[in-house]
Amino acid sequence: MSMITHKTGRPAVLLQGNEAIARGALEAGVAFCAGYPGNPSSEIIETLAHAARDLPVYVEWSTNEKVALEAATAASFAGCRAIACMKQNGVNVASDFLTNLTLSGTKGGLVLVTCDDPGGISSTNEEDARWFARMAEIPLLEPATPREALLMTRRAFELSEEIKNVVMVRSVSRLSHTRASTRTGDLPGFDAAPRFDPRVPFHTFPVVPKHRERRKKLDTAVALSESFSLNRYAGPDRPELLVISSGCAWNYAQEAVEILELEQRVGILKLGTTWPLPADLIERYLLSCDRVLFAEDVDAFVEDGVKALAADMGERIGLKRFYGKASGHLPFCGELSPAHLLEALARILDLPAPDDAYRKEISEKVADAVPQREFGFCPGCPHRGTYFAIKTALAWDGRDGFVSGDIGCYTMGIWPTGFNQVKSVHAMGSGLGLACGYGKLTKFGFDQPVVTVCGDSTFFHAALPALVNARFNSADILLLVLDNSATAMTGFQPHPGTGFTASGDKTAPVDIEGLCRSLGVPVTVADPYRMAETARTLYGLMQESGPRVLVLRRKCALVQGREGGFPFRMRVAEDRCLGEACGCGRYCTRIFRCPGLVWDEASGKARIDEVICVGCGICADICPQDAIVREETGAGGAGPGNAVPTGEKEK
């Protein structure tokens, strides 16, 4: 299904924003691509990995974003074009290297793509990674459409070579996940010939002159941005209001002006180069208008930058009235939409309020009747078994224990689907770092058992240093590695434990147990489907001290579904289910909450939803009446030995 490896450009290809970034990189003749999966950025590397089957391009999933940027940088130092792709949190991880790398400078074009996630649609935070461009003093390009994403990525490589430094391209979820008919250019001949010139070293010393050099590169970037063709103005010569917009928000501003028929009153300056800002260009447009509205996603980044410029230009341009996030005309938090721009324009220009009778009437009628869709683990998900075992063991222990959580599908342990067991979640690997701290509080009498969880991919990404720390400082930690053999949350990308790479090549898998044992940390392995057994194992481990690892191994249910399915057909024996009379309080549907188990209002009993149930069989172990029955189907590549729960029950 690759839409991006065609040799000759086409007038219109339906490309996702992330695919357009990938195509732009290929049109620039990229040689080396690296990243770590994270929505909304994952499709860039996936697309490139797919393209690498046909083109002489190297593509890898690295163990984390810092390693990805470092690996890509090596290609740049050797004179090749390279790209590193990540989500906003990934830039945080890579930032230590980035802020040093930008002092040494680069050689082959090096592009860092950040895909920010306004609204935190698939993130633990809402963060504007553009500040890193400003902090590291590198140029920042912000496309507004898939077509621009392609063009700006391609341009970013040239710009990087012109100034000999990293160039950052910033997308947002709405652009990364938008598909649009997009014109493509031709692919070049790929002729990478990497060679590191030992006479030209790359380091940050002497620091101050290198810093001065970096500032000079930034000045060059300002000059180049003044004539950048994707900084565009549309509108009257002397508008009543100037909208300065960047990224996806430009679409909303443009459409709001169109809907309100303000083309003769409002001008829109679209900035593609948002750091460093093109000061002369901005001055020209500020001179044309006394009122300015800023439209951009997440922080007031351009807004603050232009205001600072306007202060410097004060004598020439006079006093301006600025609208945006600071003035309260647009929100500081959450993703922008056309509705926000319509409202802001109407408020600033004092337009009559739009007719919202329909919206009000319907809202009043339906608002209370529309329940939110609660997120939950898939049917058959091993994490449901894991959290059930944790909940059981912590209850047995009775000392108010809790789970220190991490990033992945299992983050959903903060919600009812994971029995609300997870009490803290922040960044990749932080669950274990926190556990190291709790594990030393014992010195002051802290006696609550803390279980920390992390997925297999997260384990390699950032948990390892914390595990070494636990060993080094003899912290009392109990780490559960939830090994489902996939980076499931972001779309099943391979990681060091899976035994294959981004391009599908075989590689020796890194053995998690072996790694832990080599650190002197004892490891136990258990099956999350065997909930009672796992709970007992966990309870036992909670009573011990020092660093301990329990690997809970079971394939992601979506992967298992594709690889032969599950061995059971489930049914509820109607004669055994006592319904409301049981006294269990609808335990199976109210607490266990697998979407494959439903409550039949008509019969007043539990029922299996056969469309949704996959047949993992673990729910049979939770019913006090043994009313949930496993029937072997003979299906399921996993085979009974790999999938049959013990059938034991907690008493």
């Binding site: 290809v13 649609i121 008919s181 809907i259 939409s337 609660e374 898939c378 609808r586 409550w599």
Partner: protein, 214 residues
Amino acid sequence: MNTGIGNSTDMAADPLNLIITGVGGQGNVLASQILGRAAVQRGFNVTIGETFGLSQRGGAVMSHVRLSTKKNYGPIIPPNRGHLVMGLEPLETLRILAEYGNPETVFVVNSRPIHPLNVISGDVAYPDVAWIRETLEGASRRLFWLDATPLAVELGGPIMLNMIMVGALCALPGFPLDSGDIRGALAEVFPESKLEQNYRALETGGSLVSHDEN
């Protein structure tokens, strides 16, 4: 408001704003992609905005498909400017009504609910399906209420639903794409072995709408 859609001018709107709404796993994104590819082949400027996030885990999924002969419009349809809504699930259709519907919107909706976890658990109630139907009917130009899930199961499984619904869209008078366009796009995406099944789903959807018209 139920005026039928013969000679509808809305179908000729530029941009034509189509919303596809449903639950993760129903094939929403694939449906929008197939429609998008077919529209590109027909020479439209196409923009499809997708919201999925955590939706693979049972959350709501919504695609905004915008077709224009003039330019690429933005990825989010402005408030109350949906011309056409393809609802794969009743509650998810109701959810977007106030934000994107208007008295002229045409709805093509599959009648079978998918209960959210918090409904399964008994924490909240799923609204009465007949009431959802009435509400959509009263707030739109036309509602096509289709019992498409059983037909999808007959055709090979619940996942066939999306192409039945796409077939229904194509049968609406004035809709700018026909099932031939969709067949072309399907052939680009699916292996030969899957095509016949999907073609039959398109036909099934088409006949649901024609039948409804009579």
